[in-house]
C-alpha cells in the first residue's frame, strides 16, 4: 500500500473508533443536537421580529447563518477530541504503532463530519418548523449543505492543529470560542453586513463565514428579491471565494497538524 491508501485505511479505523463513542456516550450527541435547535429557536423568536430584512423574512435570512455558525462551532469537537486523546495518553500508543502518521488526525476530522451532518439535519428540520423554506430546488439546497460541510471540514483542520498544541481539553474549548465567536458574529450570519460600521463591514464582507452563509442563502433561495447587490467580490462570488478558503486552510493546516503529531514531545 502506498502512503495515501495507508493513511485512508488507518484513518478509517480511527474514525470508526471515534464513532463508537457516539454509540456509547449518547449524551454527547444529545448536546450536539440540542444546541442547534436552541439556536434556531432563540434567534427566530427573540430577534425574529426586531430585525428588519427589506423584502424578506428574518427567519429565512437567519437560518443559513445559524447553519454556518453551528458547523463552525462543531469543528471545535475535532480539537477537543484530539486534546482528549493526548491527555488520556492514547496518542502515545498510536504513535508507537506502525500506522500512518496522518491517520489519527484524518480519522478525527472525518468522524466529525458525521457530527456535522447530524446537526445540519436537525437544524434543517427545526428551521422548517419555524418557517424556513427551500425556494431554489433540492439540488441547489444539497449543494448548499455540501458547501457548509466542506467549510466546516476545513475549519476542523485548524482546530486539529490547535488541539494538538494545547495542554488540555478545557483550553481548546476556550481557545476555540475566542476564535470562533468573532469569526461567526462579525459576519452576515445574523444581521446584513451592510448595516455594520465600516471596519467591521469590510471584515464581515471578506470573512469566509460570510461567503459561506451568502452562498448557502443563494442556494436555498433565501435572498429576498429586493435585497441590495453585495459590493464586495467575495460576496458576489461566494461559492468560489469559500472554496478558495477551504483549499487554503486545508493546504496549510493539514501538513501542520500531521507534522505536529509526528514531532510532538512525549508528555512526561
Amino acid at each position: 500500500m502506498n502512503r495515501v491508501t495507508t493513511a485512508l485505511a488507518d484513518g478509517a479505523i480511527i474514525a470508526k473508533r471515534n464513532l463508537i463513542k457516539i454509540k456509547r456516550v449518547p449524551e454527547v450527541l444529545m448536546f450536539v443536537l440540542i444546541s442547534p435547535i436552541m439556536f434556531v429557536l432563540l434567534f427566530a423568536f427573540v430577534f425574529g421580529d426586531s430585525i428588519d430584512i427589506p423584502g424578506g423574512s428574518y427567519r429565512e435570512f437567519l437560518i443559513a447563518g445559524i447553519f454556518a455558525q453551528t458547523v463552525v462551532f462543531g469543528a471545535t469537537f475535532t480539537g477537543a477530541g484530539l486534546a482528549d486523546d493526548m491527555q488520556k495518553g492514547i496518542i502515545n500508543r498510536f504513535r508507537s504503532l506502525p500506522m500512518s502518521r496522518a491517520a489519527v488526525v484524518l480519522g478525527r476530522t472525518a468522524s466529525d463530519v458525521v457530527y456535522n451532518v447530524l446537526s445540519l439535519i436537525i437544524m434543517a428540520l427545526s428551521g422548517l418548523v419555524v418557517g424556513w423554506r427551500i425556494h431554489d430546488g433540492i439540488l441547489n439546497a444539497l449543494t448548499g449543505f455540501g458547501l457548509l460541510l466542506l467549510f466546516a471540514y476545513a475549519i476542523s483542520w485548524i482546530m486539529a492543529y490547535i488541539g494538538l498544541i494545547v495542554p488540555s481539553v478545557e483550553v481548546i474549548n476556550n481557545a476555540g470560542f475566542m476564535v470562533i465567536f468573532p469569526l461567526t458574529f462579525i459576519a452576515n450570519t445574523f444581521v446584513p453586513s451592510e448595516n455594520l460600521p465600516t471596519v467591521l463591514r469590510v471584515f464581515a464582507e471578506w470573512n469566509p463565514v460570510s461567503s459561506v452563509t451568502q452562498a448557502a442563502r443563494e442556494l436555498f433561495g433565501n435572498i429576498p428579491a429586493g435585497a441590495p447587490e453585495p459590493t464586495a467580490w467575495s460576496l458576489q462570488n461566494p461559492i468560489l471565494y469559500s472554496l478558495i478558503w477551504v483549499v487554503i486552510i486545508i493546504v496549510v493546516f493539514a501538513p501542520l497538524s500531521v507534522r505536529r503529531y509526528r514531532t510532538m514531545a512525549h508528555r512526561r
Binding site: 488507518d10 463508537i20 488520556k88 492514547i90 502515545n92 500508543r93 504513535r95 508507537s96 506502525p98 512526561r268
Partner: protein, 323 residues
C-alpha cells in the same frame, strides 16, 4: 548473542532539566533488561526515545536492527509498547481496543479478531471482553494495556513501569504474565522503581539516576557490590539513638535509622555470629529489641550505597505487603 537493543550516549534535556545525560543501553536478544531508578531518573525518557516517541538531543540507537532516528517506521513495526500510563480507549470494549490495535499493525481482519480473543483469554479478561473499558478496574485496564503491546507478537517489548499503581495481588499476577512471556523468547526492556520487581524479572539490571547509568549487572552482581549482610532491628520507644551508638562497633558502613518506625539497618560482615553479638550488646545496654533479622543485601541497599538516597521509601511497604 547480538544486542537487539543498542543505544549510545542518549541525551535529552527538557529546558533546564537533564532527563538523560549520556545513557548507553544494550540488551542481548531474548533477555530482560530492568531499567531501575527513582522517579525522574530518566527511565520513561529512555523508553520514549527507543520507541520513537521522542527525539533525543544527541546519541543514537537501534532496535531490532532498525535505526531509531533514521528508520522510525521500521522500529515501530518491530516493537510493542505498554507505557507508564494506561493507553486504552475507555469507550471501546476490551475486544475493540485489541482488534483496533491488530488492524493498525496490519494483521488483517481475521487474524486481528482471533488474536484479540486469544489475548483476552490469556489475560483473564475474556468475560469482560465485550464490556466498555470504562467499567474495568485499574488492574484490568493495566492487563488490557499490556495485552495491547503483545498484539503483533513483536520481537522487542517495552514495558514502562508496568505494575505502577497496582494492588499487590494484581502486581503478582502481572509478574507471572511477564515471566511467561519472556520464557517464549521475547526481548524485554522493563522500567521499574520497584527493586524487588527488577530482582525478580530481569536478567540484567541497569541502575540509572539523574539520566546516567550508575551500575550495571545481574541482581547478584549488584548485591555483591555492596557486600556483606544487613542486620535489621526494631527497638523500643525512644531507643533508636542509643541502639545506633551500640551497633556502630559492628557496622562496616553507614547505619540507616528510622525514628518513626524505630528501625535500624546496619551493614555488617561475618554472618550470624555478628547478629548474636549485636543482640547481646543491645541487651547489656537494656535496649528493648522487638524484632531482629539478618539478611542478604537487597537492591534497595545497592541503590543507597550507589546514590546515597533510596529508590523510593514508600514502595518498601507496598512490596512487603505484596510478598
Amino acid at each position: 548473542m547480538p544486542d537487539i537493543i543498542e543505544a549510545f550516549g542518549l541525551v535529552k534535556h527538557y529546558g533546564e532539566v537533564k532527563a538523560l545525560d549520556g545513557l548507553d543501553i544494550s540488551v542481548p536478544e531474548g533477555t530482560i533488561l530492568g531499567l531501575l531508578g527513582p522517579n525522574g531518573a530518566g527511565k520513561t525518557t529512555a523508553v520514549s526515545i527507543l520507541t520513537t516517541l521522542t527525539m533525543p538531543d544527541a546519541g543514537s540507537a537501534t532496535v531490532a536492527g532498525a535505526d531509531v532516528l533514521k528508520a522510525p517506521g521500521e522500529v515501530r513495526k518491530r516493537i510493542g509498547l505498554s507505557g507508564q500510563y494506561v493507553a486504552v480507549d475507555e469507550h471501546l470494549t476490551g475486544f475493540e481496543n485489541l482488534d483496533m490495535i491488530g488492524r493498525l499493525y496490519r494483521l488483517g481482519k481475521s487474524r486481528s479478531v482471533a488474536r484479540a480473543r486469544e489475548l483476552l483469554e490469556r489475560f483473564n479478561l475474556a468475560d469482560a471482553g465485550d464490556r466498555p473499558v470504562k467499567t474495568y478496574s485499574g488492574g484490568m485496564r493495566r492487563r488490557l494495556d499490556l495485552a495491547g503491546a503483545l498484539v503483533a507478537e513483536s520481537p522487542v517489548l517495552f514495558l514502562d513501569e508496568p505494575t505502577s499503581g497496582l494492588d499487590p495481588r494484581s502486581r503478582i499476577e502481572l509478574w507471572a504474565i511477564i515471566q511467561d512471556l519472556v520464557s517464549r523468547g521475547t526481548t524485554l526492556l522493563l522500567t521499574t522503581q520497584y527493586l524487588e520487581e527488577a530482582d525478580r524479572l530481569a536478567d540484567d539490571i541497569l541502575v540509572i539516576d539523574q539520566g546516567l547509568a550508575i551500575a550495571h549487572g545481574t541482581a547478584d552482581q549488584l548485591k555483591a557490590m555492596v557486600g556483606g549482610e544487613r542486620i535489621e532491628v526494631t527497638v523500643g520507644e525512644g531507643e533508636v539513638d542509643a541502639a545506633a551508638r551500640v551497633l556502630r562497633q559492628f557496622a562496616v558502613g553507614e547505619i540507616q535509622s528510622d525514628q518513626r518506625n524505630r528501625h535500624l539497618v546496619v551493614p555488617v560482615s561475618g554472618g550470624a555470629p555478628v547478629l548474636t553479638q549485636a543482640l547481646r550488646s543491645l541487651d547489656a545496654e537494656r535496649i528493648e529489641v522487638r524484632d531482629a533479622t539478618l539478611r542478604r543485601p537487597t537492591l534497595d541497599d545497592v541503590f543507597l550505597t550507589l546514590t546515597g538516597h533510596g529508590a523510593e521509601e514508600s514502595m518498601d511497604e507496598v512490596m512487603e505487603a505484596a510478598s
